[in-house]
Each structure stands twice: as structure tokens, then as C-alpha cells.
Subunit: 229 residues, 2 copies
Amino acid sequence: MTRRLYALCGTDRTRPFSPHVWKTKLSLAHKGLDFDVAPGGFTEIPKLERGATTIVPLLRDGDILVSDSFEIALYLEATYRERPTLFGGEGGKATARFVEGWSQTTLHPAIGRIAIMDIHDRLDPVDQAYFRQSREQRFGKPLEAVAEAGQADLEAFSAKLEPLRHMLKFQPFLGGDRPLFADYIVFGALQWARIVSRQRLLADGDVVTDWFERCLDLHDGLGRSVTAA
Amino acid sequence: MTRRLYALCGTDRTRPFSPHVWKTKLSLAHKGLDFDVAPGGFTEIPKLERGATTIVPLLRDGDILVSDSFEIALYLEATYRERPTLFGGEGGKATARFVEGWSQTTLHPAIGRIAIMDIHDRLDPVDQAYFRQSREQRFGKPLEAVAEAGQADLEAFSAKLEPLRHMLKFQPFLGGDRPLFADYIVFGALQWARIVSRQRLLADGDVVTDWFERCLDLHDGLGRSVTAA
């Protein structure tokens, strides 16, 4: 096996949770490519591959190292052209950046607050210290205060999904009849929440829940290989 | 001239303002297709083309009638294949539905509240009566109360544009190096606000403002053919 995906985990190394790594796992499976997962904690990331990255996912594909889920998707699309497309052409590639923008500026901050203590509590002690220090600097307040603000995010979360509900009136996936990387972008965010937190962000009967379940089924149920928290 | 675009206007028939019609104007120009604009008020729409539609845009292209800006874009893409693409492939077509979802569930309701009295005040009396009745039914309160709530929308508006700011770190248009229908979707919403309201939704120095100005320049400055309110 020459393909290795470096992932982020807490104490339980069988439950990698990074939203960005999940995007890449689905991308690799979409292309029908085998890979090993190498999980590690936050403080191990800068030591990977002789300091090749400060973020995961980091993909080693033979002699090639690529980090960042979008960069990896572009790399896979260019390198494995004969396999199923992740973008459906240049327009899909460009517009996926907007989907990334929406997910990262709308969903991620909310999930980050809602699940902040869940994430903290699942980490090794050395990573807990790093996580507390870096997040308290980012938010300018104690983790516990961020978590308290997360209650409002939880109540407002469903309304953030309206753009997806509109899209789902017309088609079963962001990619149309079939999923594309754009689906994996949004899936990654919700899968992160599913794995780390017992807070339920998606309600039964919501078309977004149905879409998320379809994504969990993809590629032999890859998303279900880690159970919900 | 066999191509006619039915548009929405107020008393001043030279200032069509419907966001959806603007999407179609840009789409037709993108394809290099000539067209006449036939402006009318809200209450004239159901009488167009022997009751062909309840919404504008409505496009007559020879013997063909198509309504709805997205449907028209799909029609133009399928019919004028040899001309510049509006979607950049199937992936772009699918993902544009998400952009439509975002624009219509995030930007449109806010602009609708912010500009509600501006729109009302620009209409013919018969259309003012229709507009007040239909909007007061939709919102469950007087137009004036909706406008008051719009003040909060105005303050929160800039934050809604974060997904665009993320995308613009990577590329000048939603379509990538060049605009696609996805750009016209978002442009339409902001052009609607620009034409009907003196409220300034976009600030100088914002990358979104720069993108909007680039869109106003497209196709020989078609967007600037109607001045700001």
C-alpha cells in the first residue's frame, strides 16, 4: 500500500473526526482508490512526514504529498482522470469553492461552538492542553463559555440548512443525480458533529437528514464505519 | 427580432428591477443573444402571452416560451451549445442549484425586507395595492412593520456574504476565472437592491463589492445600463 491518509483523532484512534479528513476519505473512495488511515492527535500533526504540514488531511500518494482537502480533491481529479469525476467539469470545480465557503463560514463555526467541550473531552491530555490554549486564544474566552454560547447555535442550526433544502427540491445531491466533492464538503461538517457530539443537529423527516443518510450509505457505507457519538 | 424578455418594473419602465429577470438578461448577453425587453407591472404578469406564466422572467424565443430564470438558463445552455457555457459542465449545473438556494433563502428575504417600502413606492397604484395585499399576507404584518424589521437585516447583511469572501480568496468569479450563471444568480439579488433602494448593502473595500463591480462591467456594462437608486 503506497497511499496513506493522515487523520485527526482523540484518545480513541478508531474514531477520526476531522471534517476535512472525512472529505478526503470520501474523495478517495469516490475515485475507487485504496488507502491506509494514519490517525494522530493535534500535537502530532506538525511532526508528520518531517514537518510537511500544519493541517490534516495530509495525503501521501507514492512520492507525492498533498495537504488540504480541496487541494487533494484537485490533485485526485487531475491524477486519476479516468476514474469517476469529483467535480463534473470546470464549472463544478469553481462553484465547489463557494460550497466550501458556505460550509466553513456558516456550519463550521456553529458546530465548533456546539461541540467544543465534546471535542476537548475526547482528546489525549497533551492535545487537550493544546486545544484549550489555541481555542481560548481564538475565541477570547474559556472553552466553557464558548460551549454556553453554542446553545444558541444549536437552536439556530436548522435554519442554516435552508440553502440545502432548496437544492434538494430539484435533485438528490449537490452534484445532481450523483454525489460530487461538493456533497463531501458539507457531509464532512455534519459527520464531524455526528462523531464527536451527542447533540442532534438534524431532525427526523428533514430532507437534509435524508440527504445525509444517503451520504452515509455511499461507498459501502464508509461514513457509517465510525458510529455516531 | 424574435426574442423577447418580459420583465418587471414600477412606474418607471426604464428601470426593471426583478432579480430573476437580471439573471436572465446576463444569461442572454453571456450567450451573445439579442433580445427586446418588455417591461410590465406586477398585475400585468398573469396577462402576458395569454396567461403563459405567473412569474417573470418569461422568455419568448421564436415559438418557444420559457419562464423561471434557472429554467431559462438550462434552455439556453441546451439550445445554444456552441456559444459560451453558462454552467461549465454538469457539475456546475448541479451546484448552481445550491447557489440559487443560498441566494434565495439568505439574501432575498433580507433584501425583500430592507427594500420593501422602496419597492412599494416605485410601483403604479394598481401594483401598489397588489403588492401591499400579497406581501402583508406573506409576512403577516403591515409593510411598514416589515420595513422596520429590515433595519436589523441591514446591519446583519455584510456577515451573510462570508461564503463569497471565502470563495474570492481563490478566484475572481463563482465560475472561476470567468463568470457563469452562478455569478448571475447572486448578482441578480444585489442588482435588485442597487436599483430599488438607496440603502447601501456593499461597503467600499469589500472583496464582494469588487466582485459586484466586475459583474456590473460584464457584457459592455449591461448591469450599469440602469443606474443605482
